[in-house]
Amino acid sequence: MHRDLKSISAQIVRWIMLLYAGFNIAILIYVFYNSLRPRTDFLTNTFGLSTNLSIGNFIEIIVKDGFFRYCLNSFLILAGSLILSIFLSSTVAYGLGHYKFKFKRFWKTYFLIGLMFPIQLSIVPVFLITKQLNLINTFTSVILIFGSSISMSVFLLTNFFANLPKEIYEAAVLDGAGEFRTFVQIMFPMASPVVFSMSILTAVNIWNQFFVPLIFLQSDAKKTIPLLVMKYTKKLLMTIDSAFAVSILATVPILILFTIFSSQILEGIAEGGVKG
């Protein structure tokens, strides 16, 4: 079918893509190599070969800065937000997709509104609410904000639940299972592929979120990885050794995970895109 992939133009595009991919790998190696060099070595002999490689920069970030605390912060926020958003979006979507009731159209549209109003814009009122609840500088505030942004997930899952055959539900109810048990034990597990692909996209977004943590997490002990990285990359040459090391620490583990699970992740995202 695609035998004409051998055409010159297709081959040129292919080589451009492979060069691009090669560039991405090279830059990662470049950052990794330099993360092993002391600052003066890098600054005086930027492109020379170093004779002085050590893991000192990493130890500094991990021991002196407590890098793992920032990891834990990022991870707690991610886990909390994901659990909350999966719970909220799947229950809402099940309610909207499975049952028939008055004003269903209204509620469907209601949950779509969030797609058009990104959280950045309504951050001032959200900030005032969290301030009143004394939640500034807590993970709870950030988790609540991320966990409530469920428009996209509700949209995807509602269609899924609406298209599930009713017989499965009826069989479960005949067996005497209550509404909630039917949902937890039978209907929700059937949606897990959709939930998975949805969660991957949400997780990437939350992990790299910069704006909301910047505003809501003000003390150093609560900051997330992107905010720690910013501390070192801001003044480029003064702290460049730490900047290299922290970039590697914050990037490489995630990239390894991504490479291992890449087929599931990429397929999940591809499917999510088609339905959205």
């Binding site: 969030g114 959200v126 992990w207 990285v229 995202i269």
Partner: protein, 308 residues
């Protein structure tokens, strides 16, 4: 009470979502609209000023120049995405879709920067473009083109393009993957028929595939528009509160942030007594800018749904 919920089990499923979603997504939109009618900085007295904030935003030279500059930059980002990134994504997706040799490797490595956070992306590009330690300048020096070696990130006119390069490098993979998903849904029969009729590799993309993945492309363009209007982190990390030298990489969301939260900054000082009022005013103008385009999209989508 129990029989009421027994008859209407959906209520129990909907309530938790409705409460949190209303409190943190819907209510703040209306609250922002209301706050934009007040002169307030969050602590002091709150005076109702009707639409005076809007009048001030559009008549005050100092605010208006920042507004038009930021909006212009946001629109530039959007235009660059539509005219450069989207076509690239389509071509790349098509190559992966048709399973060129090493397509897996290419897809994974092109997608990977998605997992790198903004400050690190900015750092990586600084390593390439910096005057002293930058790779590109040193390459120029090695091949004897010393005149071309410049502090690239310090050139205001180029700021927005370099920032765009960073955004694209970090984010090209998601749209590309969406498009691959859409291409996988295209029926093979039509493609085969076109192939037998002699349509070349790229002709099949243009004539057979593109018309069938129109909805995904339009979706990507809308996402790009909303992104350009609300993008904050690259501008902030690269150019700080003011959005670079002379606001060269200032964007709408950063302008909003500077007015609403940037009190410590001399630029925000002028209207710090009205930071919340003016901040929400800018947010509401942004609401309208996003809503108008989203509405167009929704009308178009429901129309094409009827056509089917």
């Amino acid at each position: 009470m129990i029989t009421f919920f027994k008859k209407r089990p959906y209520i129990l499923f909907l309530v938790p979502g409705i409460i949190l979603y209303t409190a943190l997504i819907i209510y703040p939109i209306f609250s922002a609209m209301q706050l934009s009618l007040y002169e307030w900085n969050g602590i002091g007295p709150k005076t109702f000023v009707w639409i005076r904030n809007y009048v001030e935003l559009f008549t005050d030279d100092f605010l208006m120049s920042q507004f038009t500059n930021a909006l212009g930059n946001s629109l530039k980002l959007f235009a660059l995405t539509v005219f450069i990134q989207t076509p690239l994504q389509i071509i790349f997706a098509y190559m992966v879709y048709s399973k060129m040799k090493n397509h897996r490797l290419a897809q994974i490595t092109i997608f990977a920067p998605q997992f790198i956070s903004t400050p690190i992306i900015v750092f990586i590009f600084r390593l390439l473009l910096d005057d002293n330690v930058g790779v590109i300048n040193n390459l120029f020096r090695i091949i004897g083109l010393n005149a071309l070696a410049k502090p690239w990130l310090g050139v205001p006119e180029l700021g927005i393009f370099f920032m765009y390069l960073m955004i694209t490098w970090g984010g090209i993979g998601v749209g590309m993957t969406f498009l691959i998903g859409a291409m996988n849904m295209v029926s093979v029969d039509g493609l085969e028929a076109a192939y037998i009729e002699g349509a070349g590799y790229w002709t099949r993309l243009l004539k057979v595939i593109l018309p069938q993945i129109k909805a995904t492309i339009i979706n990507l363009i809308l996402i790009a528009y909303i992104y350009a209007m609300t993008m904050f982190d690259f501008s902030y990390v690269l150019g700080g509160n003011t959005g670079g030298v002379g606001g060269s990489i200032d964007v709408m969301a950063l302008f909003f942030y500077r007015i609403a939260f940037g009190d410590s900054n001399p630029v925000g000082g002028k209207i710090s007594s009205n930071s919340i009022g003016m901040g929400t005013t800018i947010a509401c103008v942004l609401f309208v800018l996003i809503f108008a385009i989203s509405l167009l999209q929704i009308i178009y989508m429901s129309k094409s749904e009827e056509d089917r």
